[in-house]
């Protein structure tokens, strides 16, 4: 009987672990700042893929706006920054967030950097890896309101598969196809979606969602 109880206790603990958000983020600053609009600026690129920054930029507006915040048009913002001499994303990221936000009338600025964006061939498998680091900074104080770091890996040869020449050839073909045209975009979108999930790592509901201010962590809610 004691064994059953302890199994039940372990099961409950595991379930509780799954239900609760992993390392709880401190949303106090975010909630105090209460941004309504978010400026998404060009991303810093730490990978060797020169196309990555622009392609990845295209995936950012939707997940952020879906959380209920006004998101400025990314291409317009990119072009205006370029015209202002800030065509290098690192220059944008090292600029004063308060000045950046003031330029556009934004409450906060989202700074993302691509840590990884690569496809590696490793023994009959191509592994596509994307990793991003996010930071949201307050336009009024320059303080960091929120950060996240998230990665996702796709393996062209997911399962082991039975032996035999057939599955070997299939693995090689799959790896080659993936290496030739890595599926960065769907992966990037999945990572952004995962980063925005709330409760969890993401943003609380913004002013345009019905759940605005209704989904705040109990401690901070008024």
């Amino acid at each position: 009987m004691t064994r059953n109880v302890s199994i039940a206790a372990v099961a409950l603990a595991l379930l509780a672990g799954c239900a609760a958000a992993p390392p709880k983020k401190d949303y106090a600053k975010f909630i105090a700042a209460s941004p309504r609009s978010i400026l998404v600026v060009p991303v810093v690129n730490k990978s060797v893929d020169v196309d990555a920054p622009a392609y990845f930029l295209s995936t950012l507006p939707i997940p952020v706006a879906e959380r209920g915040y006004y998101v400025f048009p990314v291409n317009l913002v990119k072009r205006l920054l370029e015209d202002d001499g800030l065509s290098d994303a690192s220059l944008v990221h090292s600029a004063d967030p308060m000045k950046l936000c003031n330029l556009f009338g934004a409450d906060a600025v989202l700074l993302v950097s691509i840590e990884r964006w690569d496809a590696k061939y490793v023994v009959l498998t191509t592994q596509v890896t994307v990793e991003f680091e996010y930071a949201l900074k307050d336009g009024k104080t320059g303080e960091t309101l929120w950060t996240d770091k998230r990665a996702m890996v796709y393996s062209s040869n997911g399962g082991g598969g039975g032996g035999g020449l057939g599955s070997l050839i299939a693995a090689v073909v799959s790896a080659a196809v993936t290496k030739a045209a890595p599926n960065y975009m769907p992966l990037a979108r999945q990572v952004n979606a995962a980063a925005m999930i709330y409760p969890g790592p993401g943003f609380p509901a913004g002013p345009y969602l019905p759940s605005y201010r209704k989904d705040l962590p109990a401690a901070e809610a008024q």
């Binding site: 609009s37 295209s58 507006p61 939707i62 009338g105 995962a194 925005m196």
Partner: protein, 133 residues
């Protein structure tokens, strides 16, 4: 009610995790793909304008609000094509739909109005009457 919200929450989570939500809060159409295609082939400017226009039309057809930034992005695409008058129309739409965009949109409207091809008659007064026939 808890069961329904539980199911809804799971469905949302599943969709969000898959990275392509089956039902999004806004009617985005192929907006992110339009941006991607633009960055892939920057020379295909007409295609970019067309793709953005499709997003707007789709939202209109579905009777849903045009999502944040889309009117402005379309306006700017027109602006870069030299269609300043049309661009202003869309910057105004963005400004009216999304109050947070006011500062930026008014800046863009001023820029677009400055770009309007100069009138052939020189030194017009505010009345702007014809001084040369």
């Amino acid at each position: 009610m808890t069961r329904a919200t539980g199911i809804a929450a799971t469905a949302f989570l599943a969709a969000a995790l898959q990275g392509c939500a089956t039902s999004t809060y806004y009617a985005w159409g192929a907006y992110d793909e339009a941006l991607y295609a633009h960055y892939k082939d920057p020379q295909e400017r007409e295609a970019f304008v067309e793709n953005l226009k499709k997003v707007l039309l789709q939202a209109e057809q579905e009777g849903r609000r045009v999502p944040p930034g889309v009117n402005a992005e379309y306006g700017y695409a027109l602006y870069e094509e030299g269609q300043y008058v049309e661009a202003v129309v869309y910057f105004q739409k963005e400004r009216d739909l999304w109050p947070e965009s006011r500062t930026l949109m008014e800046k863009m409207i001023r820029n677009a109005e400055r770009q309007k091809p100069a009138s052939p008659t020189p030194a017009q007064g505010p009345a702007g009457t014809l001084e040369k026939s």
